[in-house]
Symmetry: C2
Subunit: 553 residues, 2 copies
């Protein structure tokens, strides 16, 4: 549904339908609803193509739906490239998603902190390797040089370095926006402004225990979000480095070769081997030896196999890494997640700061995911050399690892020369991808964006002040209530609001009710009350009756 | 407590105390706690003085507490000027505060949207008058010119203009950070990055009904936050403009004279009059006539008085404004908030985009507020000409007004030339100020930053994997549980975590319990269980017993 062609088709059809409805003088509610859907589709299209909306607020005409032309205006009415708005229904789904994630984080003892959206530029420098070019800088307006944060990990490490005596250990989560000046690709969920949901355990602890718990947290979050089947691929930087040494990779080529291996999830082995040999000047025999290792993946069986590999076991780095991995598998069983983790020697991860275990959660092939994959490939941008990228990271929805030296890079600046380093391990959930999946599972009209419990309706006369007074009475008792801001609203218009906003109860008044000192209360979902418009209740009992109906009594 | 001198004094004393504790070999827990407080104080001091922390992570020594010297390091370890971190306890209080505000917003039918943290620069241009110089720009890294948002109102208006057919009316709230390159003043809660909590009602509605509800929302928020006595000063741009016309202010001087009047809350009338006459060239007789009006404030009595003012009633702008004000007071009574609102002719508000009713909520003199005032004045920065500023805005904790033309400024760009303007009225709650008040009311050690319900403790043997297995069992049943990441933790260390983190229950195991197939469950708050360390429960009943104790059964 989200490919450019399919969207254009839908927009054209809906434009025709709306013109038809208008010709037939269909009721306003119906037209408004269809126009809303059209606006939504156009907005999706504009985001996909990266082009501005055809006209500002000019939707509903059904014309010029291609979105290809600039509005003839003083300026373009849009959000910056790679950013987007989220409307009320989308925010309702996002809020639910964040609440679910926060719930899991708190289940594991997490506390949250907040750091500024921008940091001193020098704090971010030298942390992201060649991706540093994607950092957004603030203009130097006579002061400090600042940059928008690129992730939540570096600011957390800076926070720890500044507060190491207060927080020698902490389980902290942080749900916040980060910024990357990347080429946006909506279909891949790659934006310039996006949310990360991070959980990190800092402190010197029993080996691999926090690491195992971090992976369990990833498992719990993905299970709670109900996004489909997933697996967590796991590897260890020391195993990887040891393996490279054993294969004969020269010390200065270990990082570049590791980068090449990192592409194994999107390129065939032949291509990765070509990069190693031709681009990076590796001895073909060494490359082939690497090839025999990185095709390996499995569970404890793989661990056992590697532990019997005499070459590897003679390498101190590999031995240390495999010892960690053995502990990890032991704890994975204690945490009942052994069927969710997969030891994968081809997993390398790009970031330089990882020092131990690394992992990446991927969605595994299910019918649903296959469908998403097909949609995403259809909608992918055709920048040369990028086609395979979209397919590659598609399934990755959480990633992380151990970074034992990052805090030390900041803490090392202590005047006393004493290192205040704190080892850390963490995971980051890629929620934009998750959000897309969750939105596709929901029907727009079934998402209740508001929390309103009661709509106050007048019959016959307008009774504006009487409706306002009832609203005030309900607010005073903690009941979420609304009424129409109109002196003499029509009855069908008031019913329509209840339907559109999925409001469960209405309080109905007319002259008769006021004279008798009663109101009518009507169940707007099940419509169980009498046809005449609800059950009569004395005004003095209104609050109690509503609370009873809402299950709050 | 927050003045620089008082902080330095506290830091010096606490430094001495910590050295004494260390000499006396006090238990580690006590020292850590005191050091944490010291770090906190130093951080406050650094923020107040705008200078970096003396050393990175070097707190605890009690030395060099003045914070005046740069660390001899590659770079300064701090957050950018005018920004700050919030630690776990502060975030717990902030989250409560936001939840309270969100609760009120939802009670009035609010839905939320999200917009990017930065906008195209041209979207923000020409919206903030001379404060536009405070806008943060992003560096032009080859693309669009962008700026960090200055408030939430302009992005909301841009959103409405882009989606006018889908949202001809909406009640939207938005809790988000905004950015102003202002001189920071922590004591006044004036930062460069800070949160705003906005509620706005957009759409063409019955006159003054949404305006009255917005003020009622402000009343409900401030009441729910329990920050002390407050009043809402209210005025109307049309009344103000009419009054200026009646007094004889030339048309081109109305905005500058309005700015002068806006200073009435921080300067005496003589100073405001001097500015009007000497700086802005107003006829002294005109200034004096203005003086007779702007000293007026009151309730419906003032309204009645103005309605009998023949000069004003002959002015169309004043007449229209007073008609609105009459409606407002009528609805204020319906909403039972007439004792909270005050018609104040000296309220002018700086922003250009207001077109109707304007208001500002202030804390009124209570003993507590007087104390805060004294503290804030003691801590104020001494920049010349700014002394009175701190006193002035001190009490202002929410503000807003009607802006009927702002959406039109964007919607006016429609290709079809048709205006998609949407009139709006809104309020913004200044939560940083509220947060300071809430923090001062709380004791740090009584703030529970985590949500952990159960701590799993071993007695005698370490039983690490057994504790991990119990944690997994509790997580599987939705119970928030932690254990110490240590192979053989000491019992007192485990108790100490429960105390520090205010964890209500513990599950205790030892070899005996494991052999018998039981656990002990202990109430850690009331310590009602037997001294021996909790009540024995068969393992199979553990989850049910814990849920019962937590009131979830």
């Amino acid at each position: 549904m989200s490919s450019v062609e399919s969207l254009k088709e839908q927009i054209a059809q809906l434009g025709d339908k709306i013109r038809q409805l208008k010709l037939e003088k269909a009721d306003k509610e119906t037209v408004t609803r269809e126009v809303a859907v059209l606006t939504q589709l156009k907005s999706q299209l504009a985001q996909l193509t990266g082009e501005p909306l055809p006209t500002a607020g000019g939707s509903g005409s059904g014309k010029k739906s291609g979105g290809g032309k600039k509005a003839a205006a003083q300026f373009t009415l849009k959000t910056p490239k790679g950013t987007r708005d989220f409307n009320d229904k989308e925010m309702a789904v996002r809020d639910e998603m964040f609440a679910t994630i926060k719930g899991v984080f708190q289940q594991h003892g997490g506390v949250t902190i907040d750091t500024p959206v921008f940091e001193l530029k020098e704090i971010l420098s030298g942390k992201y390797g060649e991706d540093s070019k994607l950092i957004y800088d603030l203009e130097d307006q006579g002061g400090e040089k600042c940059s928008l944060r690129y992730d939540l990990t570096v600011p957390f490490s800076r926070f720890l370095a500044m507060n190491s005596s207060q927080y020698p250990n902490i389980k902290r989560y942080h749900i916040g926006k980060v910024y990357r000046r990347d080429q946006p690709a909506m279909t891949k969920g790659r934006m310039r402004e996006f949310f990360q949901c991070d959980f990190d355990i800092a402190g010197t602890h029993e080996p691999m225990v926090p690491d195992a718990e971090i992976v369990r947290i990833a498992v719990d979050v993905l299970t709670a979000l109900d996004v489909g089947d997933f697996m967590i691929k796991i590897n260890h930087r020391q195993v990887l480095d040891g393996m490279f040494q054993v294969c004969g990779v020269p010390a200065d080529k270990i990082r570049p070769i590791s980068s090449a291996v990192d592409k194994m999830d999107k390129s065939p082995w032949e291509e990765v081997r070509r990069e190693m040999v031709e681009d990076k000047g590796l001895d073909p025999a060494v490359a082939d030896r690497i090839g025999t290792y990185i095709c390996l993946s499995g569970g404890e069986d793989l661990l056992a196999k590697l532990q019997q590999d005499a070459d590897l076991m003679a390498n101190p780095s590999a031995t240390a890494g495999l010892k960690d991995m053995a502990l990890f598998f032991r704890y994975a069983k204690v945490f009942k997640m052994q069927d969710k983790v997969l030891f994968d020697l081809s997993l390398a991860r790009g970031l330089d700061y990882y020092t131990g275990v690394i992992y990446e959660a991927i969605l595994v092939d299910s019918e649903e995911n296959q469908k998403l994959l097909a949609q995403d490939m259809a909608g992918q941008s055709k920048a040369p050399g990028q086609e395979d990228e979209s397919q590659a990271r598609l399934g990755s929805i959480a990633a992380g690892g151990r970074y034992d030296e990052l805090v030390g890079m900041f803490a090392g600046t202590s005047k006393k020369g004493k290192s205040n380093n704190i080892p850390c391990v963490g995971v980051s959930v890629g929620v934009e991808r998750v959000f897309s999946i969750l939105m596709r599972k929901r029907k727009l009209e079934e998402i209740k964006a508001n929390r309103t419990e009661v709509y106050i309706i007048s019959v016959g006369d307008g009774l504006l002040e009487e409706r306002m007074a009832i609203a005030a009475e309900l607010w005073d008792h903690g009941i979420k209530a609304e009424y129409m801001f109109k002196a003499k609203p029509k009855l069908p218009a008031q019913w329509a609001v209840c339907d559109r906003d999925l409001i469960p109860l209405s309080v109905i008044i007319g002259r008769d009710e006021l004279e008798k000192g009663v109101v009518k209360i009507k169940d707007m979902i099940n419509k169980t009350d009498s046809q005449s418009g609800g059950n009569e209740v004395p005004y003095v009992n209104m609050v109690a009756e509503i609370k009873k109906r809402l299950g709050q009594a």
